[in-house]
């Protein structure tokens, strides 16, 4: 079984869990994701790998309560177990193919939003440990919604925080911060953006102005996560691709974001219904 070794509430709606999954921990790489199922009736929920520890045989995941299924995840307690944890899934980030020497000469910028901060962590950590220069922009609605600030600051050279209400860091959007940095002459070899689809769409528009190479990690709908269902299909460079096996990371400039945004809403009304049902029962 996949025991929850540690549970931390990062914010009232965002929960971090370290889960025992030795096979997964031994093979996980930055950029990959996993799928969890809370119980026999549970949905298969894809989540990005936030950290992995081969020695402890554990992986760390971060979940935000948005619907009935994510609430079920967040309600699990330390010492309890997931019914299933499977992975790692998806291709690792392209940069893991580069040597430490090559990485040591490179400068990266990450643009993370909300829950997307979690999957940025293992990537930044991997690069920072290998001598790459790393800057990170993290966006959140308010200071209370900010996650992993301390962890992130340890794996980068500069951490820029943006909040919608200015309760911490810059008041404004991550795109404004990115534009500011580029305008002030900062140069990056590679940008990576992970967050809500709509944020990634606008980060792409901003990065384009500065000819910044940009990779995005797409959080599409999925069932199996191994290429079987095709629920995750996205149009990239005019071709239909499966985010689960060919992604989740793609060249941002090739992604049809409007289609991806629309496809994410496929089961929206049913999710709302399920959440509602669930609350009545409680």
């Amino acid at each position: 079984m996949y025991e929850i070794l540690l549970k931390k509430e990062l914010t009232p709606t965002i929960t971090l869990m370290e889960v025992s999954a030795p096979r997964l921990a031994a093979s996980a790489k930055p950029g990959q994701f996993l799928i969890v199922r809370t119980d026999e009736n549970g949905e298969r929920i894809p989540l990005t790998v936030c950290d992995y520890d081969k020695e402890r045989g554990s992986v760390t995941i971060v979940t935000q309560k948005v619907g009935a299924s994510s609430k079920k995840i967040c309600d699990l307690q330390q010492g309890e177990s997931f019914q299933d944890v499977s992975g790692p899934l998806g291709r690792p980030s392209d940069f893991i193919a580069l040597s430490d020497e090559e990485l040591g000469k490179m400068r990266f910028i990450f643009i993370a939003g909300g829950l997307g901060t979690a999957p940025v962590y293992p990537q930044a950590k991997y690069l920072h440990e290998r001598g790459a220069k790393v800057d990170i922009i993290v966006g959140a609605k308010t200071a209370d919604m900010l996650i992993l600030e301390e962890e992130m600051s340890k794996v980068c050279d500069h951490l820029y925080i943006c909040t919608d209400d200015g309760s911490k860091g810059m008041k404004g959007l991550v795109t404004e911060k990115l534009a500011q940095l580029c305008e002030s002459g900062e140069k990056y070899d590679q940008a990576v953006s992970i967050g809500p689809m709509i944020m990634m769409k606008f980060v792409t528009l901003t990065a384009k102005k500065y000819n910044l190479p940009l990779v995005v990690s797409l959080n599409t709908l999925m069932v199996d996560g191994t290429g079987m269902c095709g629920a995750c299909r996205v149009t990239v460079g005019g071709k239909v691709r499966f985010a689960c096996v060919e992604g989740p990371e793609f060249d941002a400039y090739q992604v049809d974001f409007d289609e991806a945004l629309r496809r994410q809403t496929m089961y929206k009304s049913q999710e709302v219904e399920a959440d509602h049902k669930c609350r009545i029962r409680n």
């Binding site: 093979s27 949905e43 499977s86 790692p88 199996d224 191994t226 079987m228």
Partner: protein, 461 residues
Amino acid sequence: MANTKIDRVPVREQDPKVRATNFDEVCYGYNKEEAMLEASRCLNCRRPGCMLACPVSVKIPAFIEKVAAGDFEGAGRIIAMDSSLPAICGRVCPQESQCEGSCVLNLKGQPVAIGKLERFVADWSRENGISYNDKEASNGMKVAVVGSGPAGLACASDLAKWGYDVTIFESLHKPGGVLQYGIPEFRLPKDKVVGSEISKLKELGIKIETNVIVGRTITIEQLMGEEGFSAVFIGSGAGLPKFMNIPGESLNGVFSANEFLTRNNLMKAYSAESDTPIYAGHKAVVVGGGNVAMDAARTALRLGAEVTIVYRRTEQELPARAEEVHHAKEEGIAFRMLSNPVEILGDEKGWVRAIRCQEMELGVPDASGRRSPVAVEGSYFDIETDVVIMSLGTSPNPLIAGTTPGLEVDRRGCIVASADGATSKEYVYAGGDAVTGAATVILAMGAGRKAARAIDEKLKK
């Protein structure tokens, strides 16, 4: 003496109007009396065509003779010599093109109901708690089986009986492969049949590790290296869905049959308890004519949709089992033959509103002998619908081939293997849909058993 006076004994089924609203099994199967009566029709041919036409060569006349005599345990023992999953094969094999298609009585259009008899024997054995698992002493050698579908289960079962220490690695959370995610409950009950067949295999000492994606969680090389497996059998199936590459396929409401069926079967989305959503719309169009298309159509119907199957050839060419087509029609599914989709039309919000098709006619026979469909110039028509389910076949998943150096695949992505399952890599065998592309449960089982034999010979050397 064979009873030549009677007609084939009809099998009892759920009323079509009732079953169109539930997911309970359609066919009730024979009871003892019906089975014995039907078995009495077998002529016990000296050269049984049925047996030759069976991909795993079940000794059909011999087991039927036992059924006719009321010795159901004896019948079960005979079947078990050649098939490890009879309750499943009795339900899903295309009997009309295999055993029953070669039955002498077929000349009169009334072959012995071999499939239903096999199912009866398997169900009777299970209900009476009889297992035919005889196991040889352990030989200490470890074999890994990748995938717990029909090929993997058949291979694992033989090897375990011969004393091997077998571990099956399954990528999903439940074992069974296509038996679990693909074939619906109303055709193949999951707990009653699939679950119990799999627990019989566990009694043989077979270990099943779920949630292990070979090619991601672990590689074939790691299995043979650090994990100490002497040989590997790859039965990873053909899981990648095909699409038509026509405009509109990314609209909301367009699904692969794999997605639709996986949500419903593996994730049990039809049940109120399940958290997994499914959407069948008020109207659904299923594109394709195979068993999977029938399964998707009949599932959508049970979820409340008015369903039309669109197929580009005629009814004669439908690749689905005759029984499935018959059941689908009884349940009220409309068939639109000689029609080929050219575009899916969406509304202003990006949801499906209709599918545009072109009329086809049959041209000259192609290499396979089937008359290929040719488009009729200008003959376009639209079918209004909320959902389109693409059921155009599947191809093997590249995950394993892509992470196993030295494993040869052909240009369709199928693993290249000899008749006994040997691949280009020593000690690595493969069989089933991963080798042939999408085919049937019984062919996969046959391939799994042949590979088991080859693995045994190789390792005993």
